[in-house]
């Protein structure tokens, strides 16, 4: 017929009818392999063993790396036991202060803390920033007006009062950041100190002047 070598791919001959495929396989489904020499057939046992292994390994894997099915965990090597109460990892005042600085102070004093020569005084290396906290807390709370000498350069500008828009903690954090960034080295400012000075100032709203401040503190 058509299966001569030169046109063997012209069409495919079927080796079995559909009907017989159905019937034979229906029979085969019920037919387990014959037991060889009275022993158990190897294949079904092998498949059973494989099934058990797969389920076992799957279960161990799932138990091991699902980390309590916690929706917020992305790391499969995270701690498996639940951290008792979620310990809020401590955030340093410097980190918090950077955020305040980054939204407010940065406009004039710049990210580098260098200010703008002749317009806005620098904070990096500044004797004011690293000096007595009594002075700088007052500056932030009520602002500073008029001439001021920073790092031997004269400035004459106005810093706005921020006491109403910032909370004690925010002021303390921002100042701490300023006192410990860019190579500055000065102790932290505590929120309590800000609260105390805020209370001392009462209803005063007039900005400070540099001369006035120099009389306070050391």
């Amino acid at each position: 017929m058509s299966s001569s070598p030169d046109n063997k791919y012209r069409f495919e001959e079927a080796g079995a009818s559909d009907d017989s495929i159905q019937q034979v396989h229906a029979q085969l489904r019920k037919q387990m392999p014959e037991k060889a020499h009275g022993g158990y057939p190897f294949l079904p046992l092998g498949v059973l063993g494989m099934m058990c292994c797969a389920v076992l390994f799957g279960a161990i894997y799932l138990a091991n790396y699902s980390i309590r099915f916690d929706p917020l965990v992305v790391n499969e090597h995270a701690k498996r036991e639940k951290p008792g109460a979620i310990v809020q990892a401590p955030v340093s005042p410097v980190m918090l202060g950077k955020k305040v600085f980054g939204t407010i102070c940065i406009t004039c004093h710049q990210a580098t803390g260098q200010g703008v020569p002749g317009v806005f005084p620098p904070l990096a290396g500044s004797e004011w920033a690293q000096g007595d906290e009594e002075r700088i807390i007052r500056i932030v709370l009520l602002g500073l007006n008029g001439p001021v000498k920073v790092e031997n350069k004269d400035f004459n500008n106005a810093m706005p009062a921020l006491g109403t828009s910032l909370k004690d903690e925010q002021i303390a954090h921002a100042l701490t950041y300023v006192r410990q960034e860019w190579g500055n080295k000065a102790p932290e400012v505590q929120p309590e100190a800000v609260a105390r000075i805020r209370a001392e100032l009462g209803n005063r709203s007039k900005p400070f002047t540099a001369d006035e401040l120099l009389k306070i503190g050391k």
């Binding site: 079995a16 009818s17 017989s20 499969e76």
Partner: protein
């Protein structure tokens, strides 16, 4: 020749006659999409080693060509071919004719108009950017309506079957016919109609992609393998009693395996772990299916030389095993840390879509189409070209994507290469693999052109009066005793 055989024979002719036009129309659309998608894919591949190629126009920018090619191949070629093959096989195995086939033309038109609009939508800038769901929202309904017509036909054909028994291929076809519309509509609703928030979107997307490959393309390919092996070799499937186990286990585990695509992603870690565990479980059905299929071929490898269908099915079996191994590897943290997000994860999906599914459909087409047209393939050299380019192209692509992806993964993870120069160096290192991929894709495209020409010749021959009508031998009945193929090879 006994009269029962004769009856079966004329019944089959009747079934083939009823399926003729719908199946040919679906195949014609499929082949057209195969070429269109292949061209787009080739363009996208060339753009990776020559980035300026067609970059000047928004319609052909790389980010749009890639999803357009993928969608053309999946929804254009893949679905149409699966429809053609699935409807035919369902009718054959249910021993009933495809009734009221006219509705299937409507379905074919709707489906393909939907896909055309979808692809134009992607190229025109309406992509949703969800993998394999990039087609704009408005085509969803068209596609679902068209699918409903095809799916209902498949299921109805099954439920009015004239056979007492149900064969393995039918389980796979039946399952796939339900799974696709469910996962597709769930994904559409959860991503586009009433979108879920945050990382739930990638989870739904990964679930859908895994489902589309694992619960649609792989079952269709397996239906073809389970059918054509005994059909051509003339020998029953080896260890067939294990086949139902493999079917249920494969489906259940695949359905849960989607999370493994999100390994390392910012989703709850249990999602990817569950996917990984499901991938362990997939080892069982893959081994059983391999025992079934390769066991049937064992001792009959000579049959591969005689049958082009069997050779394509053999490629498909290799593709299935290869894709399963790669899928398993990608579910492991150590391997995924390197291979995830590189060409290797592309390779996994490509292996399923092309090496496993498409080759099975080519094999099926070489068997089915002459039976529908009643004509032989007009050129056996074109058939040989198609098979040769497919085998060579698959080999080249596997090498290119695996080696390229491995290099890519190692470079990405090598922190001593500065990020600023990383991608320049990577482009240089990978350009040889990208070029190799382009060559491979061009080869495949050549094979597809050969396929199209042969298909065209054949439809032409069908209408010309003086072409030779193919005379098929009456297939012998399958017997439980081992039958060698050469027997009855008259």
């Amino acid at each position: 020749m006994n009269p029962i055989d004769k009856n079966a024979r004329s019944e089959q002719a009747e079934i083939d006659a009823s399926a003729k036009w719908p199946v040919l129309v679906f195949f014609a659309w499929a082949i057209w999409w195969l070429l269109a998608g292949g061209v787009l894919q080739l363009v996208a591949s060339v753009q990776l080693h020559s980035p300026e190629f067609l970059a000047g126009c928004a319609w052909t920018t790389h980010g749009r060509i890639v999803p357009a090619a993928q969608n053309a191949l999946v929804y254009g070629w893949g679905m149409n071919a699966a429809f053609a093959f699935g409807l035919w096989l369902m009718a054959r195995l249910s021993a009933t004719t495809l009734r009221h086939g006219g509705w299937l033309f409507v379905a074919a038109k709707f489906w393909n108009v939907g896909v055309i609009l979808g692809i134009l939508g992607i190229l025109g800038g309406y992509s949703t950017s969800f993998e394999l769901l990039e087609m704009p929202r408005f085509v969803t309904l068209i596609l679902l309506i068209a699918y409903a017509m095809v799916g209902v036909w498949g299921i109805t054909t099954f439920s009015i079957r004239n056979t007492e028994n149900v064969y393995a291929s039918q389980w796979y076809l039946f399952g796939a016919a339900f799974w696709f519309p469910w996962i597709y509509s769930i994904a559409q609703i959860m991503l586009l109609k009433a979108p879920v928030r945050g990382v739930l979107q990638p989870i739904v997307n990964a679930w859908y992609v895994q489902g589309l490959y694992g619960l649609w393309f792989i079952p269709i390919a397996l239906a073809a393998a389970y059918y054509f092996l005994p059909k051509i070799v003339g020998k029953p499937v080896a260890n067939y009693y294990l086949a139902p186990l493999a079917f249920w286990w494969l489906a259940a585990a695949t359905a849960l395996a989607g999370g493994s695509r999100l390994i390392g992603a910012p989703v709850p870690v249990w999602v990817s772990t569950l996917g990984g565990a499901a991938n362990f479980l997939l080892v069982v059905p893959v081994v059983v299916i391999a025992l079934n299929l390769f066991g049937t071929l064992a001792g009959n490898y000579g049959a591969l030389g005689r049958s082009i269908t069997l050779r394509f099915i053999f490629l498909s079996m290799l593709g299935f095993v290869g894709a399963s191994i790669l899928n398993f590897a990608l579910a492991n943290h150590g391997f995924a840390a390197i291979a995830q997000l590189t060409l290797i994860s592309d390779l996994r999906d490509w292996l399923i879509l092309y090496a496993c599914f498409s080759t099975a459909m080519f094999g099926a087409a070489y068997f089915i189409i002459p039976r529908l047209t009643g004509r032989e393939w007009q050129s056996s050299s074109l058939v040989k070209t198609h098979f040769g380019t497919a085998a060579l192209g698959i080999g080249l692509l596997v090498v290119a994507l695996a080696a390229g992806g491995w290099t890519q993964g190692h470079m990405l993870n090598n922190e001593s290469i500065e990020t600023g120069s990383l991608f320049g160096e990577m482009a240089r290192e990978l350009s040889v693999w990208f070029t190799l991929r382009s060559i491979g894709l061009a080869l495949l495209l050549l094979g597809h052109v050969a396929f199209l020409i042969n298909f065209g010749f054949q439809t032409w021959a069908m209408f010309s009066k003086n072409s030779k009508v193919a005379a098929f031998r009456n297939p012998p009945a399958l017997s439980l005793t081992k039958v060698s193929v050469t027997e009855g090879h008259a």
